[in-house]
Symmetry: C2
Subunit: 478 residues, 2 copies
Amino acid sequence: MINSNALRALQNALGSEVTTDKSSLFKASFDTMKLSFMPEAVILPKSPASIGTALKIANEFRMPITPRGAGSTLTGSATPLKGGWVLDLTNLNNITIDKFNKLAHVQAGAITGDIQKAAIEHDLFYPPDPSSSSFCTIGGNIACNAGGLRGIKYGVTRDYVVALKGFLPNGEPVAWGRPLKKFTSGYNIRDLWIGSEGTLGVITEAVLKLIPKPQASRTFLAYFVDDQAALLGAQALLQTGLIPSVLEFMDVLTVLGVEQATHIDDQPIFHHAILLIELDGHPAVIEDETTLLVHWAADCTTKFIQAATQEEITALWHTRRACSAAMFQHGNSKLNEDVVVPLDQTVELIEFIQKISQEKNLKIPTFGHVGDGNFHVNIMYNREDKAACKHAEEALQSLMEFVIELGGAITGEHGIGLAKTPFFKLQHTKAEINAMLAIKNALDPVGILNPGKIFSPFKTWDYTPISINMPWEKKKFL
Amino acid sequence: MINSNALRALQNALGSEVTTDKSSLFKASFDTMKLSFMPEAVILPKSPASIGTALKIANEFRMPITPRGAGSTLTGSATPLKGGWVLDLTNLNNITIDKFNKLAHVQAGAITGDIQKAAIEHDLFYPPDPSSSSFCTIGGNIACNAGGLRGIKYGVTRDYVVALKGFLPNGEPVAWGRPLKKFTSGYNIRDLWIGSEGTLGVITEAVLKLIPKPQASRTFLAYFVDDQAALLGAQALLQTGLIPSVLEFMDVLTVLGVEQATHIDDQPIFHHAILLIELDGHPAVIEDETTLLVHWAADCTTKFIQAATQEEITALWHTRRACSAAMFQHGNSKLNEDVVVPLDQTVELIEFIQKISQEKNLKIPTFGHVGDGNFHVNIMYNREDKAACKHAEEALQSLMEFVIELGGAITGEHGIGLAKTPFFKLQHTKAEINAMLAIKNALDPVGILNPGKIFSPFKTWDYTPISINMPWEKKKFL
C-alpha cells in the first residue's frame, strides 16, 4: 500500500536521494536470504543528516524503515518485510586511518575488506574477518556483531568498536563512546546498538580499534580419520596453551562436497575431516608454537602439512574457501546455521548432527570456527521434495533444542534476523525478552525501525526465495 | 522516614538476611567517598534468590535499593543517597575456574584479587587490575567498568565479561550472554548492565574470560626532566609499535609527594617526572621489546633503570603504589578525577593543569594510565580554607570543560556515581541522556534501583565527609 503523503514529504525533503524506480525497489527488496518484499522507496543519503530527516518523516507517517548495507546477511535482517522505505547506506563509505591513535574512522557503508586494506597500508591490522569481508559493509558487521575466521585469537566485531555515531529512531543524532582507550560515562548504548540488527538506531559512523600488524604467520592443514577425531584434535590443541589465529574445522561431508564440486584429484583427501590452522605473531613465538603443533600433530592427525610458499598457503585454504558454495553438491537448498556450543561439547554436537542426519535422511555438512565452538551446520535438501523440506525443518528444530541443552547459542555471528526468529524463545526467557522489548519500545515507540525482525516468529521455509545471484555469488569457486 | 510495612514484609520474607542494627546501618551508609546517608535496612542475601524477593517487595513499597560490594568506589555510586535498603553482595563470593574453557565463574561479591589468584593457580590470567584489586569486588568492577594498570595492553573489565546473571529491577531472574566464545542473539543487555552502576539490574554472577598466563615480564623506570618530557616520551614509546603491559605516568608533584611522605633519601628523584613500564609475554618478544625500549630511553629519558630482582621490581613500583595516599602531602582534601584524553593530547592536558594550578593557587598532582590517555588528576586543597574550596570547585569545572574540548571523557574507569554528575551534561547531549533515561524508565519504572546516581546533579563539595578510614586505608604506604 503506497502512502503517498509520506512519500511526497520524503521526496520534498531529500530530493534526488530518494528513488522509486522499479529496478531500485526490486534490488532493495531482498538480501542474501533472497526473500523479496517490495519497499515503496529507497533512500540513498549523500550525508548522514539526511538520515535524521528521513527518520523524522517516517515517525510522523508511521512508515517502516529498513537500514541496509551490501545485503550480504544470510538471516534476512535487511529484508524490508513490512515494506516502507529502505535506507541504503552504501554511499557513506569513507575510511580514515588515525595511525597515531591506532584507530580507523569509518562510515557505515565502508566495505570491511577495504578497512582491512587501509589499515595494512599503515602497518596496522583490523582483525575481524567474516568470510564476506570483500563485499560486506562494516555497518552490517556491527549490526549483527559479525565474527569470522580470526575470532579464536582476536575476537569479534564488538571487540573492535570503540565508538559509534548515528541516529536514534526519533531522528536525533547521537554519539556513543568516543575515540578513546577508556570511557565509562553513562549507559553503554554503543554495545546495545552492536548486534541489535538496525532495530534500535541507524549507525552512520564507527571508530574501530586497530592493532599492530602481526609480523609473521604460518599455515597448516591437518587430516583426521573422521569428524570426531578432528574435533578431539582441536580440543587437544586448545589445551596445549597455544592460541592459533585460525582454527577451522571441516567435516568429512564438507570435504567431499568440495572435492566433487572442484574435481580435485591430486592428493585425494577423500573421507577425511580436516583442520586448517594458522599461527601469527612474533617469529620466535610462531617457532615455539610450531614445535608444540608438530608434537600435537604426531599424536592425533593422520597427515599434517605446513605451507612453505604463498601458493601452498592458497592450496591449503582451498577447501575452506570453496566449502560454502560446495554445499550445493548435497542439495539445492540449505538451512545455514551458525550455532555455538561450549568448547568441550563439540563432539557431542557433531554426534547429534550425525544422528539426526541419519534419522531424517538428510546430508548435514558442518564446518566452521571450532576454536570458538561456532559451527556452520548446513541442513541440505531439495526444495522440490516436500518430505525433505519437512525433515529439514524438523532437523533444524531438533538441532536448536540440542544446542540450548548443551548450554550453547542459536547464533554466534549472523544474528537473528528473520531466519532464527522461531528459536528465539528457546534461547531467552520471557523476562529477558520482555526487557529487550521494553528497550525497543522506549527507543522506538512508533516501531519504525526494521520491523518484524528478531522478536516475531517468521518461518522462512514457508516462503519461496527468488532465483537470483548476489553480485559476489557469480564466482563460486576461488 | 521508616516505612514500617515495607520493612516488616522484607523481614517476613528474608528473616535473618535482613539487619537493622545501628552499626550495620552506619557501615552501609557510605562508601569510599565517605558521605553518609543512613539506610533503613541492610540485606545480606545468602543466595541469589533472596535478591529477587527483596526487589519485588521494594517495587511494591517504592523502596530505594542500593546494591553494594566492598564500597571501594570513589564516586559515591554505592551511597544510599535516598535511604531505603542496602543490598550487600559481599557474602556471594564463590569463584570456580573452568580451565578447559578458560573461564572463571564468579559471584558478584568475589574479591577481584582472589579471582586473579585463583586463575594463576591454573596458569591462567585475569588481566584487569584496578589499584583496589586486593579489596574491591568483581560486582563493583563490572558495575563501573573498572580499568586499572593493565588497560593499555589488556583492556578493561568489560573486555573480560562473557556473561552475567542477575535480576531485573522487577525482581525477575535473567541471564545475559552465555559461557561461550561467541553469542549474538537479541539485545546485548550484558554490556548495557556493565558500567550502569547498579541502576538497571542487580548482578549476582559473572563468567569471565581468562587468558594464558604471560610467560615472563620485565619492569623499568624512566626519569624525565619534567612532565611534558615524560608525556612526549610516552607518546614516542607508543609510536615504536611495542605495547607495554603497564605504562604509568607520575608527574613531578606526585613524585615529590611520595618523597615527602615516605622520606626516601637514597637515590633522590626530586624534580623528575617518571614513567613506570612493564613488558610481559614470550621471553623472545620481551627481549626484542627491551632493545626498542633501550633505544627509546637513550633518546628521551634522563635516567632509565631495569629491575634485575624481585626486590628491585618492588622498589621501582614504590612511587606508583604510594602515590594515591601521598597526595595528602599537598592538602587534606582532594577532588580525585579519572579523565581521559586522546593519546596525542596528553601534553595539552598537563599544560592546562599546570595553568589552572597557577591561576587557582592549588596543587594538582597528576598520575595515571598514560597509555590509555587516562589520568588521575588530584585537585588538592584544605577543607578549612573556604577560598581554596571554591578554587578547587572552579578548577574542576574548568578541567572537565577542557577535557571535553579535547574530545575526551569525564571518567575512564570510576564511573559517574555522585561525584561526576555535575559534568554529565558536558559529556552527553540531551538526546543521548533522554535515550539513557528512556531505558532506565523502561527497565525500572518505579525507580527503585540506586536512585540519585548518574543523572541528577549532586555537588559533593556541599557535603562534609565523615572522618573514618576504610579497612584497607589503615596501611597507607606499602
